[in-house]
Symmetry: C2
Subunit: 304 residues, 2 copies
Amino acid sequence: MEKFEVTILGCGCALPTTQHAPSSQIVNVREKLFMVDCGEGTQLQLRRYHVNFQHIYAVFISHLHGDHYYGLIGMLSTFSMLDRTSPLHIYAHRDLPRLLKPQLDYFGGSLGYDVVFHNIDTTRSEIIYDDRSLTVSTIPLDHHIACCGFLFHEKPTLPHIRRDMIDFYHIPNFAINTIKQGADWVMPEGNVIPNARLTRPANPPRTYAYCSDTAYMPQLAEHLHNVDLLYHEATYLEDRIEKAVLYKHSTARQAALVAREARVRRLLIGHFSQRYDTDDVFLDEAKTVFPDTILAKEGLRIVI
Amino acid sequence: MEKFEVTILGCGCALPTTQHAPSSQIVNVREKLFMVDCGEGTQLQLRRYHVNFQHIYAVFISHLHGDHYYGLIGMLSTFSMLDRTSPLHIYAHRDLPRLLKPQLDYFGGSLGYDVVFHNIDTTRSEIIYDDRSLTVSTIPLDHHIACCGFLFHEKPTLPHIRRDMIDFYHIPNFAINTIKQGADWVMPEGNVIPNARLTRPANPPRTYAYCSDTAYMPQLAEHLHNVDLLYHEATYLEDRIEKAVLYKHSTARQAALVAREARVRRLLIGHFSQRYDTDDVFLDEAKTVFPDTILAKEGLRIVI
């Protein structure tokens, strides 16, 4: 199967701890790398987990709280020192270029590659990125400032060729491509072999949704139906639900309720508050509602 | 003796590694904390080495390369979340406020404490900070952009009272303070006990100099005569002296030459290039010229 995996670089909340780095993830789709959020120290996490800096094509920033973007400027600077030449695309709220401009200008044009900002509208769900294997859409979230999640949606792939049937009917190699595209095969004597006998269905397109930071949004489920993996923030437990409401974050149970309602395949939780001694309590709480829950952890890699 | 110590938070060079954090140090003078430089991730190093965030009174920034200041904005934000109310003083090149302004403005006045910028002139040596126990002066350095070091100079303290003499002459407690200030003591019968018999000389004022980043500057020694501890960058070894010249950095040997010429008591080297497999090679090279050399390391605390 084509590569589609997520690596957690950081899953802590806003206050720095020695347990967790702030939010950042790498989504690897067929060796093209996409970063989601970029908290302070993310470039060091890239080193630590042996992510190839040069393969990062784009960065998606969910919102402009520091723990989700303060690592950008240092990473941009390091890319320059490492002689990057290909453009880096940054998808974020329209305020971001303005926030970084003086520091970017300070390089005096010597960065050596282009930083291309793409403004996103966090208030609605729309496709913001599209290539031949993937689309990325925004998912509006409910936080204190403009904030959205991202839905990575693999494009349908071609069906698998049945090698045994190809051999059986002595079908020449030049015909394989058209059969992959859906053509039947006409034998020299005129018999038609239907495409369905020559192929197996393609793998169903896979999906990954990233939702952080957000208050509990039961209506989120409508964007997330059947996703293969849902990352949903779980800053608190139910014992501090009043803080979750106040700061527009979610509890582990609420993350699990969204996952259950949306019938996702697996739930990944993170953005853990430093107020709890261990992360296992988040897992325990979420699992009472949604058993297929995974605890995020720096360095964790999940194949989708 | 009154506390005067340096803690290394980071001693790496510009490229991030998992071995070293970028430049940052804490100078503790009688429990008042001063930070020198603040590379990305410094706030995490503060946590890691149990530095009390709230006691940081001022930050001195040597120059505006990212590995010396990208950690500021995250630290300022965290101070706010930790309910800091006392002003934070930042001494830096005049461009710094402009670089941080959009991000500071983005807090919308909700930081909760004042950030007070003090512009420094990196081209000359002058006192930029002065309190009752300390002065801090700039030391011009030779780098690709405006850059200076900092000389921390303890103020003279009062002499020590000789408790045995006080008891012997039955001198009452109320007189101790004036004797500390230098007064003689007149006995009831008129005999004068000279101050020198009642006190021991004060400890000589101590000094700490921070010099990073800089090309080799033999003339630096004139600012550094007899300092108790000199931190001098040692980005390269002599085997890459052409890179040191090109990038305006120093070799370990050059740092040691400055230390020897200035007759400092101890030399501390850091800002190590990631090109070398081990830091010991820096120590070895420096020691051939100046034996009292110490290798910087994250978490190292040196009493001056």
